[in-house]
C-alpha cells in the first residue's frame, strides 16, 4: 500500500510537469495577446515593448523560460509575479483560496448529500411520483449549463434583480470570519449551482446501482436471516456507493472547472475568478499558477479516492 501511494505521488509529479508544460506552451503559442504590449500603454514604442519583454524574461528562448519556471516552482515553490500588478502569484492565490474553498467544499457536501439522498429515495420508491420527479429533475440539472443555471437563479431569487428577492445576489460574498450568516446565505445559490450537475449524476448512478444491488443474492440472504428491512437497505446502500466513489475523483475536475464559471457569474473573489481575469489579461504567471494548483488538487483528490476505495472494498488491494 505504501509503495503504491509513493508510486502514485511520483506519477502525480510527472503529471504536474506535463500540465505545466502544456499550459506554458498553450498560452505562448495561442495569440491571446503579447503581455508586453498589453502593459506598454497606448501606442507603445517597439523599444519599450522590448524592454518590458526583457524585464518579464519573455525575450529568452521558450525552453529557457520553461526551465526557469520549473526551477522556481519545484525548488522554491515560487510561481513568479503577476505581469499585471507585480504581486506574487502565491500571495494572489493565497488571498483568494478561502473563498474558493468555501465554495467547493460546500458544493461537495451538498453534492454528496443531495446525490445520495435523492438516489436512495428514488430507488426505494421505484416508479413512484417521487422517483419520476427527482429523476426528471436530475436529467434537467445534468443538461443545464452552469452559467445558465446561475443566471436563472439570480434572476429568480437574488435580492437585487430577482423576482423573489430572498437571497443575496451577485458580488455579495463575504468571508466566513467577518459575517458567518451572510457568508452562508451568499453562498447558497453558488453551492447549489456548482453541486447540481454532479449531484444529479450521482443520484442517477446511486439509484441504478441500488436497484441492481437490491436484487443481489446477498440481499436475499440478509432478508432470509430476518434482518429488519432498514438494515437490509443499509447493506444495499453500502454496496452501491462503492462504484460511485471512483467517479468522485473525476467529478472533482469538473467541479473546479465549474468553480471558475460560478465565481465569475456570482462575482466571488476566488481563485476561479482570478484565473478568469488572468486569462483576459494574458497574465501568464497567474494562469500557470492557478492551473497548476487545480491540477495538483485533482491529482491529490484522485489518490485519496483510490486509497478510500481500497478501504471501502476489502477485495481491492494495490500492489
Amino acid at each position: 500500500m505504501a509503495r503504491y501511494v509513493i508510486r502514485r505521488i511520483l506519477w502525480g509529479m510527472l503529471m504536474l510537469v506535463t500540465v505545466a508544460a502544456l499550459t506554458f506552451v498553450l498560452f505562448r503559442v495561442i495569440p491571446t495577446g503579447n503581455p508586453a504590449v498589453l502593459r506598454a500603454g497606448r501606442d507603445p514604442q517597439p523599444k519599450l515593448i522590448h524592454e518590458i519583454e526583457h524585464v518579464l524574461g519573455l525575450d529568452k528562448s521558450l525552453p529557457t523560460q520553461f526551465w526557469d519556471f520549473l526551477k522556481g516552482v519545484f525548488l522554491h515553490f515560487e510561481f513568479g509575479y503577476s505581469y499585471y500588478n507585480q504581486e506574487s502569484v502565491v500571495d494572489l492565490i493565497k488571498e483568494r483560496l478561502p473563498a474558493t474553498i468555501s465554495l467547493t467544499v460546500g458544493a461537495v457536501v451538498l453534492w454528496i448529500f443531495l446525490g445520495m439522498g435523492i438516489g436512495i429515495l428514488s430507488a426505494l420508491r421505484r416508479h413512484s411520483a417521487t422517483d419520476r420527479a427527482s429523476m426528471g429533475g436530475a436529467l434537467i440539472l445534468v443538461s443545464a449549463p452552469e452559467f445558465w443555471l446561475g443566471l436563472l437563479l439570480l434572476l429568480l431569487f437574488s435580492n437585487d434583480v430577482g423576482k423573489f428577492k430572498i437571497l443575496p445576489g451577485s458580488g455579495s460574498y463575504v468571508g466566513i470570519t467577518s459575517d458567518p450568516w451572510k457568508w452562508f446565505t451568499s453562498l447558497l445559490m453558488p453551492w447549489f449551482v456548482l453541486a447540481a450537475g454532479s449531484a444529479a449524476v450521482f443520484a442517477r448512478l446511486i439509484r441504478g446501482n441500488l436497484l441492481e444491488v437490491m436484487d443481489e443474492d446477498y440481499i436475499r440472504t440478509a432478508r432470509a436471516k430476518g434482518l429488519p428491512e432498514k438494515q437490509v437497505v443499509r447493506q444495499g446502500v453500502r454496496a452501491s456507493v462503492n462504484p460511485v466513489v471512483t467517479l468522485m475523483g473525476l467529478e472533482m475536475g469538473l467541479l473546479l472547472g465549474g468553480a471558475v464559471i460560478i465565481e465569475t457569474v456570482f462575482n466571488i473573489p476566488g481563485v476561479g475568478l482570478l484565473a478568469y481575469h488572468s486569462i483576459a489579461n494574458a497574465d501568464f504567471a497567474v494562469i500557470e499558477g492557478t492551473v497548476l494548483l487545480a491540477a495538483m488538487f485533482i491529482i491529490i483528490a484522485n489518490i485519496v479516492v483510490d486509497i478510500v476505495y481500497a478501504y471501502l472494498d476489502p477485495r481491492v488491494r494495490y500492489s
Binding site: 446477498y218 436475499r220 440472504t221 434482518l227 429488519p228 438494515q231 447493506q235 462503492n242
Partner: protein
Amino acid sequence: MSAAEPLLRVEDLRVEFHTEDGVVHAVDGITYQVQAGRTLGIVGESGSGKTVSSLTTLGLTRYQGAHVSGRILFQGSDLVQAPDEELRALRGNELAMIFQDPLSSLHPLYKVGKQIIEAILTHREVSKKEARERAIELLGLVGIPDPRARVDQYPHEFSGGMRQRAMIAMALANDPKLLIADEPTTALDVTVQAQILALMERLQSELGMAIVIITHDLGVVAEMADDIAVMYAGRIVETAPAAEMFASPEHPYTWGLLRSIPRLERDRDERLVPIPGTPPSLIRPPSGCHFHPRCLYALPDHSRIDPKLEATHGETDHFVACLLEPEVRRRLWAELSAGATPEEAKEHVGLEGTSVP
C-alpha cells in the same frame, strides 16, 4: 399442535407474478408436508417452481411482488396470511434457508463473522461478545478450520465450499426447526458436494431439524431425503418415500428423470433416454396434464383432462398425478426398468393411439 401434525404443511399453494408478458403461474397449487426431523427432497427442472415455493415459505417472494394464495402452516400458523413482521421474526430463527450460490449469497463487503453475528443479534438478546463466541463455535461446527481467525475474514478469502459452510453456519445460528436448502451443492465441485451433504446429514442428526432440500440432482435426494416430491411446471406430479420413488416410480416424468441419468450397474452401451422438448411456458401452460406435450405415453384425452394427485394402488404415502391407467403405468415401468426403449415398452404394453411429440 398434536404430535401427528407435521412441522410444515403446504396446502394448495399458488404463487403468481404479474409481468408485462402476462401472469406467470410459478407455483400452481401444490400440497406437501414435512415432519419434524425428516428430510423432504423436492426435485424438478429449472423453472418448475421449486425455488419459488420455498422462497414463498419464508415470505421472500413478497419483495418481488408475488401474488400468493393457499396455506403454509408452520407449527400450526398460516404464513401466507402472516404479517411481514411476524414472518421476519421467524426467518433466520425457526425457519432458515441456504442458497444455491455461496459466492454471491454472502455480502462481499462484510466479514463472514459479522454476517453470522448479525443473524444471532437479530433474534437473540445476547451481547456482541457472546454472539461472536457463538459465531466462532458455529464455524467450528460446520468444519471450518481455525474458526477464531476465519471469523474476521471476508467472503473472498474463503473457498467455494467454505463459503457454503459459512452459509450453513449462518442458517444454523438460531437452531432452526426447519432448514430449506435450495440447490446447496449445485455451484460446488463434486468432492465438495459430498462433504456438504455429509455435513448437512450430520448436523441434522445432531440438531434434529427438518430439512427441505431442493435440487435437480436425483443423486442428492437419493442420499439425503426420506421423502421425495417431483415438481413439473409449477405442480407436484408425484410424491413418495424415497425408496418407493426409486423402486416403483409411477409418473412418466419421473421415469424420464430416472432414465436420463447414467447408472454404473447398467450396460455401458445402454443409451440414456433424455426427456424430449423443453419445460413449458408458465405464462400459458399446456392444457390438461401440463406434461402431455413432452409425454411419450400421452393419449389424446390428456390435453383436455387435468390430472389430480391421487394415492396409487395399494400405497398410502405414494401419490401421483397421471391420467394413464395404474395397470398400464406399472407395466410400462416394468418394461422400461428392464431396459426397453419407450417405443418398445409402448408396443409391448399395447398402448394405442399415443401422440408422440
